[in-house]
């Protein structure tokens, strides 16, 4: 199903969803940057934005959440699982973040399925919007294949005008899933596309390909093999000299899914809750296990671990790249450690 919608139509659709009791979130401008936030009116959503500082992952995998509450009675332990209730409609997600959602779906949906993630994801709707060109000099999504959305969205919006600093006002909305079709059928948003609209969408896609240049000096398919040869490279130690092990690169990454689980007793000690919180492999204690042994005590081994996860291991496990090239980790790193630069340097060495 395809419709032609204006930014106004999209805002009205968001308002409809809000009236229907849904949580609606999307890019909101906060002074100098955009952030994904829940909104109370559709007009607050921005569809023409460069990038959001954080990815939308926190709507499905929040920074902290309660998994269960417990209380200890005289002879029994009462455990009440906490069930997430919101399954948001997220409007305005760029291709890189769609692919990242696709990866999280695969990770949280396989093995022991993650009920909390899946509950939030179950009735959620993701409305993607395509990018005109690189959102920021740090982006290398083209190299990673991240700038073509393969999965993780229900509707794709292709801008029909705008670009080069001009805000788009009209979009071709194409449903990719049943949920997407339902959304577009809701109040019959927008109008039937004309032939000229489909042509304009086609033109957008052609122009888009030309707007992105490559930053990686080789095809990404070669990356796993390059990493294979680089396990003992000196680069890990040299780069880690600058690294604080602060975890910022993990916490902004749309594909990072590691967490830690803690029990938090109340002062009474007779009841409490079990919470989970974002974790990150760059942090000092990430690989510390019961008994105190740390498998990766050196920051160089943690740095290497992250780069191997993003460029090789996740691909091997999940059949998808662990990095979509959004450039957020580069921007977040106050030590200016850049994954794409590491990938490039390793190729020169290998």
């Amino acid at each position: 199903m395809e419709r032609v919608v204006t930014a106004k139509d999209l805002a009205a659709l968001a308002d409809d969803m809000l009236r229907a009791g849904r949580t609606v979130a999307g890019p909101v401008r906060r002074k100098e940057r955009y952030f994904y936030e829940a909104v109370s009116r559709g007009a607050d959503l921005a569809f023409d934005f460069n990038y959001c500082v954080y990815s939308p992952r926190s709507f499905f995998f929040p920074p902290g959440e309660t998994l269960l509450t417990y209380s200890i009675g005289t002879n029994e332990l009462n455990v009440a699982p906490e069930a997430p209730r919101t399954s948001p409609v997220i409007m305005g997600v760029h291709p890189c973040d769609c692919n990242a959602i696709g990866l999280l779906d695969a990770v949280f949906g396989s093995g022991v399925p993650d009920d909390h993630y899946l509950a939030r994801r179950k009735d959620s709707v993701v409305v993607a919007v395509d990018c005109h060109g690189p959102c920021d000099p740090t982006a290398f999504c083209r190299d990673m294949g991240g700038n073509e959305a393969q999965e993780g969205f229900d509707v794709m919006l292709t801008p029909l005008n705008g670009g080069k600093g001009q805000a788009a006002e009209r979009y071709l909305a194409a449903a990719a899933t049943e949920r997407g079709r339902e959304l577009l059928a809701y109040n019959k948003v927008g109008k039937e596309p004309a032939r000229a609209d489909r042509d304009a969408a086609e033109k957008f896609r052609e122009a888009k390909a030309a707007n992105f240049s490559r930053r990686l000096p080789y095809a990404v398919e070669k990356l796993p093999a390059i990493l294979d040869r680089s396990y003992n490279s000196l680069l890990w130690q040299v780069t880690a000299k600058r690294c604080y092990s602060c975890g910022s690169c993990n916490l902004v990454c749309p594909t990072c899914y590691c967490f830690t689980v803690k029990d938090v007793p109340d002062l009474s000690c007779a009841s409490g809750k079990r919470v989970r919180e974002w974790d990150g492999c760059q942090l000092q204690d990430f690989a510390t296990v019961a008994g105190g042994h740390n498998f990766r005590p050196e920051s160089s081994s943690r740095l290497r671990h992250r780069i191997f996860r993003k460029g090789k291991w996740i691909k091997e496990q999940q059949g998808r790249m662990g990095c979509v090239g959004c450039g957020r980790c580069d921007r977040a790193c106050t030590a200016k450690i850049s994954v794409v630069e590491i990938y490039t340097q390793l190729a020169e060495e290998a």
């Binding site: 952030f35 920074p63 000299k241 690294c243 604080y244 977040a332």
Partner: protein
């Protein structure tokens, strides 16, 4: 570190102050909602901010303030003797806090500034953390300390669980809050090497982290020195001054 095994049926606690604003002691009183619970579980035997009757039979002593005068030295030694578990509370007690700034000034100048023409009657020593003089079992860092961390420590003592400060840096809490990093606004922030636990309160309100909670366990200070000078154009003296505000007496130093 001593284990936080429960010391008696109802642990007797005491709160003392050395050279400080006593803001940390007041933070305990601000714990209204949980304070009543705490009061029920402990017996408070000595607390200048909240009582007049005092006793010296103490299981856990909380002390705020830096050791900054000869009489502070005597007092902190006495607290150590009287308390089975001694907890340093707040930046001043844990690292010397901002009191240590005087250590970098002319002694006569600041004594005159603080005590006026009676300055000679008030002897002083360079401000230092409690741990410079006595063994401290637990530290609750921060300026002021985090009252929830105080409650957490109290809980651990009651449950006989070891109390641990968060090992991650302030950046983790800052990111969980969804803040825009101050470096992206052209500021320099000590979050990457400062111990979390304050909820990244300063960056959340737009102010840089000044490191009041002290450094993380294994801070990469070489990286701080290199990055701030090479990437952010700071002079090394300015980097040192940033770290000195709360860090003059920390074990780890800028190389």
């Amino acid at each position: 570190m001593a284990s936080a095994a429960p010391v008696s049926a109802k642990p007797k606690i005491a709160v003392f102050s050395l050279t400080s604003c006593e803001g940390c002691s007041l933070a305990i009183l601000e714990l209204e909602d949980v304070l009543l619970d705490i009061l029920g579980k402990f017996e408070i035997v000595n607390f200048r901010e909240a009582m007049t009757e005092r006793s010296w039979d103490i299981d856990i002593g909380f002390v705020d303030g830096a050791v900054s005068t000869p009489s502070d030295v005597e007092e902190v030694k006495m607290f150590r003797e009287k308390c089975r578990v001694l907890v340093a509370m707040g930046a001043c007690a844990c690292t010397g806090g901002i009191n240590t700034l005087k250590n970098y000034q002319n002694e006569e100048d600041y004594r005159k500034y603080v005590y006026g023409d009676k300055w000679k009657v008030f002897p002083t020593i360079p401000a230092q953390p409690c741990s410079a003089f006595v063994k401290v079992d637990y530290e609750l860092p921060g300026c002021p300390m985090n009252k929830f961390e105080f409650a957490e420590l109290a809980k651990c003592v009651l449950m006989g669980k070891p109390f641990r400060l968060p090992s991650e840096p302030v950046c983790v809490e800052c990111k969980k809050k969804g803040n825009l990093c101050l470096y992206e606004k052209g500021l320099v922030c000590l979050g990457p090497v400062t111990r979390a636990g304050c909820g990244a309160i300063c960056p959340t309100y737009g102010a840089k982290c000044e490191g009041c909670r002290g450094l993380v366990d294994k801070p990469n200070l070489q990286a701080a020195a290199d990055n701030l000078t090479n990437l952010y154009g700071m002079k090394i003296e300015d980097v040192l001054a940033e770290f000195r505000l709360f860090g003059a007496y920390q074990k780890e130093r800028i190389p």
